[in-house]
């Protein structure tokens, strides 16, 4: 019987090891799998490369993972947001690497990684510093730059409803990077607000088909990152 449901956050992140590349969903706090990130902090895996649109805020979630010195490199499009101080401080001391990627190129590199496409050409970043040193090619008189697919050892994603097959639906703009990150990792770990019986999600409404998902854990009342930040909560004591 296929059953991707795991009972504890500890089980959810059990396979994550040092030196892993990990995709973490979310656009700011929308879709950020805060509980899974905190479980990864508890596990303590080090020397991680994290692929995520932002770098977290305050001292919780992704920012706390970085603050705990578990991350050697960030691949992202917008590393500073309101209330983000942890990453900029380490970056300015040269204590963390940054690969800055335009947001659409980041999304397409992840999509390509999940679809078995090793690289693609795009117009984005032509004539800018971010295409410097990369292979360029003309198609129909327009210049394009070669970008390589991104893959990961693990993806951490937050969804709204799931079942034991790992079929997922999302809520509003919390969907963002979730569906593509699910496709691009060797092991995809999902926190879901609700787990329902097989068949309860109408097949027409499934956004991520279960084939892409390895583990699902139910987190009924996930923390809101902005509320933790407003309350000045620090995950690390």
């Amino acid at each position: 019987m296929i059953n991707k449901i795991v009972k504890s956050l500890k089980d959810a992140v059990a396979n994550i090891h040092d030196d892993s590349t990990i995709m973490i969903g979310g656009f700011g706090e929308a879709g950020s799998p805060v509980e899974l990130i905190h479980a990864l902090i508890d596990k303590g895996s080090k020397n991680l490369t994290i692929i995520s649109n932002n770098t977290g805020s305050g001292h919780v979630g992704l920012a706390a993972l970085i603050e705990n010195r578990q991350v050697k490199k960030m691949i992202c499009s917008f590393p500073r947001t309101a209330n983000s101080t942890v990453f900029p401080q380490l970056y300015n001391k040269n204590e963390i690497e940054l690969e800055l990627v335009p947001q659409g190129t980041l999304a397409e590199r992840i999509r390509a990684g999940g679809a078995g496409i090793p690289a693609f050409y795009t117009r984005t970043s032509i004539n800018t510093l971010l295409s410097k040193g990369k292979e360029h090619k003309f198609f129909d008189d327009n210049e394009y730059v070669l970008e390589y697919a991104l893959k990961a050892d693990f993806s951490l994603v937050k969804c709204n409803i799931s079942d034991r097959y790992g079929n997922l639906t999302y809520h509003a703009t919390a969907r963002n990077f979730g569906p593509i990150m699910c496709t691009a990792a060797k092991e995809t770990i999902v926190q879901s607000k609700k787990i329902v019986e097989i068949g309860d999600i109408n097949a027409e409404n499934v956004i991520t088909p279960g084939i892409y998902v390895d583990k699902v854990i139910e987190i009924e009342n996930p923390a809101h990152e902005s509320e933790l930040v407003e309350s000045q909560i620090r995950y690390l004591c």
Partner: protein, 215 residues
């Protein structure tokens, strides 16, 4: 703080709004561009896309109806219009990079007379660089409108012969809306489409580094 000369932010946003045609699909950048949606004439049906996965973005949400997972590109809580749709990031940027969005309104640090835009980095090492979706938008959207103060707070020109900051894109801007004027970026250079109230062409020239032409 300098005294406001010419149009204020609201008047600038109104000017942009009047140039957004009926039936347009529009992406609004963070900051002043967000104001534009409030002033599009009511008889025009315009659909707003936000790059984080929503087509049919409505107004900013009331405090009591905020959903932290329904946000715009600036991470502000927003609402949906009826007929809206959600999609993932690769689909969102397929809309942008695939040429499906008609107009994008962006802020700027610098714009040059041939339509180069710099709005993501000052080139300084002390600030963490952040690009977001700006390079995708200028590469893929059919028309790029820039809305910006004509000069920096210190009075330094932002409309230049050549940008000194790292570029977001080369030859990408179609029209510039500032507190002093509306400028068209044409092959021959920058043409003044409209001067703000009580602003003369001579005054505009004195505040602009780039060459300006009159129609």
């Amino acid at each position: 703080m300098l005294e406001q000369v010419g149009w204020d932010r609201i008047e600038m946003a109104k000017k942009v709004a009047l140039d957004i045609p009926d039936k347009s699909y529009v992406n609004l950048g963070i900051g002043i561009p967000e104001l534009v949606a409030d002033f599009v004439p009511k008889d025009r049906e315009v659909i707003y896309q936000t790059e984080n996965g929503l087509l049919g973005m409505g107004r900013v949400a009331d405090k009591k109806n905020e959903d932290r997972e329904l946000v715009n590109a600036g991470k502000k809580c927003v609402t949906t219009i009826s007929g809206a749709s959600f999609f993932h990031h690769a689909d969102s940027f397929a809309m942008i990079r695939g040429g499906h969005i008609d107009i994008c309104v962006l802020g700027a640090m610098q714009v040059s007379s041939n339509g180069d835009l710099a709005n993501w980095s000052t080139g300084s090492n002390s600030i963490v660089p952040a690009v977001g979706g700006a390079m995708d938008l200028v590469a893929g959207v059919k028309k790029i409108f820039v809305i910006t103060q004509h000069n920096t707070k210190k009075g330094i020109p932002k409309i230049l012969d050549k940008c000194t900051f790292p570029l977001t894109g080369m030859n990408v801007v179609d029209r510039i809306y500032t507190n002093l004027a509306i400028l068209d970026v044409n092959k021959e250079g920058l043409f003044v489409k409209e001067l703000a109230d009580n602003i003369s062409f001579e005054y505009l020239k004195s505040k602009t580094e780039a060459n300006l032409f009159q129609y």
